[in-house]
Amino acid sequence: MTAQQPDAIRGSLDHCVKCTICETACPVAAVTPLFPGPKYVGPQAERFRGAGPSVDASLDYCSSCGICTLVCPQGVQVAEINSRARAVMKQQRGIPLRDQLIARPPLQGKLGTPVAPLANLMLGNRLVRLAAEKALGIHRDAPVPRFAGRTFRGWARRRPAPAASGTRRVAYFHGCSTNYFEPGLGRKAVEVLAHNGCRVVLPRQGCCGLPLQSNGIFDAARGYVRRLAAGLAPYARQGYPIVATSTSCGLMLKREAREILGVEDDDLRAVSGQTYDICEFLAELHQAGELKTDFRPVPLTVTYHAPCQQQGHNIGKPALDLLALVPGLTVIELDRACCGIAGTYGLKREKYDIAMQVGSGLFGDIRAARPDLAVCDSETCRWQITHGTGRTSVHPVDVLHRAYGLS
């Protein structure tokens, strides 16, 4: 559904008929009694939340995957209500240092990138990880990314002037993860877009604030997303589609900043309406008959998992339609709700086991399918999938890049 006003979010709880569909779909409540379910802590408990101290410790175990909102047939924004209530609770109880750190990818990126070999060595070191678990509460086995050492923007500055003769102008929102951890994905996205006649520009951009939001640090998150929106808005106003490879960060711009953080500003409004997940964008090109389909055979078997945040776009699974165009490619659609990681949730010492249990069904399906690649649109989910299965996990754009013969 299209973005709603903040008051309408809380007001949506009056549409709850207690049908429990959200509870049957919640991947966290299915594996742990520590989370009593989205209806219980959401529309039900929300009625009792007032100005006083929060009494809901269980709310902290919500992973913010958003499946409850997705499946609710009444339009109750269960996940959004819960995210807001959790932020209030965390503000009252104090935000742990760990949450402050893992919620700031730009800080990690700026510290880690120049010393990437050392930083990666430390992240891979058992003793360092044990110490980090003890001192900070980041689980020793949790899937943390590796620094690429070079940033995506660094590559983009050096890349030769694009030869694309196209007239379609696109602004690429690469996000933090592409910049610091997966610059190759950014390069492939730019090349796939250019192959389709897009002139790709890279607006100045920082973090969208999503990790801060999901850790309940709303004030800082609002600052991040406002700055990002201000940087993207001039392009949005000129009619550039703003194309994102990080599906959860794209969703932040589309609706979460407004619906969860309550950010109301003209820049964000302009940007929201112009933001596209990259698969959504390419599938719309295809629907208009404007996507190049000069694909070479890619004789691989891949699984496809649509991450929760991708489903939150309410656009179905455009990646499946795109992958179906690639000759020789066998695509296995996985029908599991969540991999468990939910951004930073599965990194936390007290939640790691829950996250792994949430993901166990997905991991089992992937292992059974024995794919060459496990395709998934979200970076943290890819890292979790690789952690849980040992399989290489890539963004759908990676497969398209191969199929176009660009790799």
Partner: protein, 426 residues
């Protein structure tokens, strides 16, 4: 290789993921059409007991829907069943039995079984999951109704006592005896779904089977709340019968969620996925996409905007008043929400509701009027769009909760809507 492809569009957009929408979508996708199902959320099928009630009351209790339907349809010319012939209804039932392959169904329209509800009321239903069939009270022997102590939604004493009284009042008393088991896992507050997940664990199942064996008498069939596994219900039920040596049957729980509903919805959704059908969840259709008065697609609201989605045909299966497919505003005006189609409902100044709660309210019948191919028609009786077909409770003229006809209407009209499209697709 050439660079550009033709436009990629869906053949059919199905709006709604309840029984009617899923049946139409699966049938169309398996026939090779590209089907996109757009749904606001999970459909209410997941809340239903998943029995296929064809006609339970008309108005007296119906023993054989097949025999009762011709007269019922003649007496209710605006009822969906007046459009669905008996042959097509049978075809749709046969189709469902073949297509829900993970979870077997038994029975047909020739006779209603009488299944006990969680409140102990005999309920007529024609086509039922095999896991419930041994509860058929027609000529039943004594039953043991077993509660699971941790489940607060099912009370064996209440069910057994009511069942005995209700069957005695009909002159065929069924001896019903309650027992409250204490399954392993402690006294935590556990709902039906959590319990159903436990039943998929072999050790838990074995422990319950042992307690049932000790509690049941030789001649008794054993009734349990319908929580005997989700994905593996067939094997859970089979194993419990084998381990107890008694017929075992499930009784749908009285309050949501419904585990059997989750099984049926999951089986159909899985089938649809395997046939290449796509789901767009959390999205709403806000209106038709028109070109020169012709419907060329639907407008779908997503997270940030409303986007047209092109298609050749639409199946509208959004449900009736209860599901929000039909809306009634504060002035009493009824409307159809997805495509803005004309609704047959009491107009301004006409009585919409009668004084008694249980009266037959004129508003009950609110919904679309359709032609013989299930195309919604306007006041002139002509189809509004030649390529839009309706299925399920969005079609007016029925009182499914009173008639016990909702599943039969959804199944048969979903099946028929698909048939009408397949005929045109050639």
């Amino acid at each position: 290789m050439n660079g550009q492809s033709g436009a990629a569009t869906a053949d059919v957009v199905v709006i709604g993921a309840g029984l009617a929408g899923l049946v139409a979508a699966v049938r169309l996708a398996e026939a090779g059409l590209r089907v996109v199902t757009v749904a606001k959320g999970h459909g209410s099928l997941r809340l239903s007991p998943a029995t296929i009630d064809i006609l339970g009351y008309g108005p007296g209790r119906v023993d054989s829907p097949a025999r009762a339907l011709p007269g019922f349809a003649a007496a209710h010319p605006e009822h969906p069943y007046a459009l669905v012939g008996p042959g097509l209804l049978d075809d749709s039932v046969r189709w469902l039995k073949e297509h829900v392959d993970t979870y077997r169904y038994v029975g047909d329209a020739s006779a209603n079984m009488l299944l006990p509800t969680a409140l102990g009321v005999p309920r007529p239903s024609a086509v039922v999951p095999e896991t419930m069939a041994a509860g058929d009270l027609r000529g039943a022997g004594p039953v043991l109704i077993a509660g699971l102590g941790v489940l607060k939604d099912f009370h064996p004493s209440l069910a057994a006592e009511n069942l005995q009284a209700a069957t005695a009042a009909e002159g065929r008393a069924v001896r019903a005896r309650p027992v409250l088991l204490d399954p392993p896992g402690g006294p935590a507050d556990v709902g039906a779904v959590a319990l159903a997940r436990r039943f998929e664990d072999a050790a838990f199942r074995a422990a319950v089977a042992a307690r049932l064996r000790a509690a049941a008498r030789a001649e008794e069939a054993i009734g349990l709340p319908a929580v005997l596994g989700i994905d593996r219900a067939r094997s859970v039920w089979t194993e419990l019968q084998r381990e107890t040596g008694r017929p075992v049957f499930e009784i749908p729980t009285a309050v949501p969620p419904s585990v059997p509903g989750m099984r049926l919805a999951g089986a159909l959704a899985g089938r649809l996925r395997r046939a290449g059908g796509r789901f767009v969840l959390g999205a709403q259709v806000t209106g038709p996409q028109l070109r020169n008065g012709t419907l060329t697609g639907v407008r779908v609201s997503s997270a940030a905007r409303v986007t047209p989605r092109a298609c050749r045909w639409v199946v509208l299966a959004t449900g009736g008043l209860a599901s929000g497919g039909i809306d009634v505003d504060s002035s009493g005006a009824a409307s159809e929400r997805a495509l803005g189609l004309p609704v047959r409902a009491p107009g301004p100044g006409e009585a919409a509701f009668l004084p008694g709660y249980w009266d037959d309210h004129p508003m009950d019948l609110a919904g679309l009027r359709v032609d013989g191919s299930l195309r919604p028609v306007g006041p002139d009786g002509e189809p509004v769009y030649p390529n839009v077909f309706a299925a399920g409770a969005v079609i007016g003229g029925a009182r499914p909760w009173r008639e016990k006809s909702g599943d039969g209407i959804s199944l048969s009209t979903g099946y028929l809507a698909a048939e009408a499209i397949l005929k045109e697709a050639g």
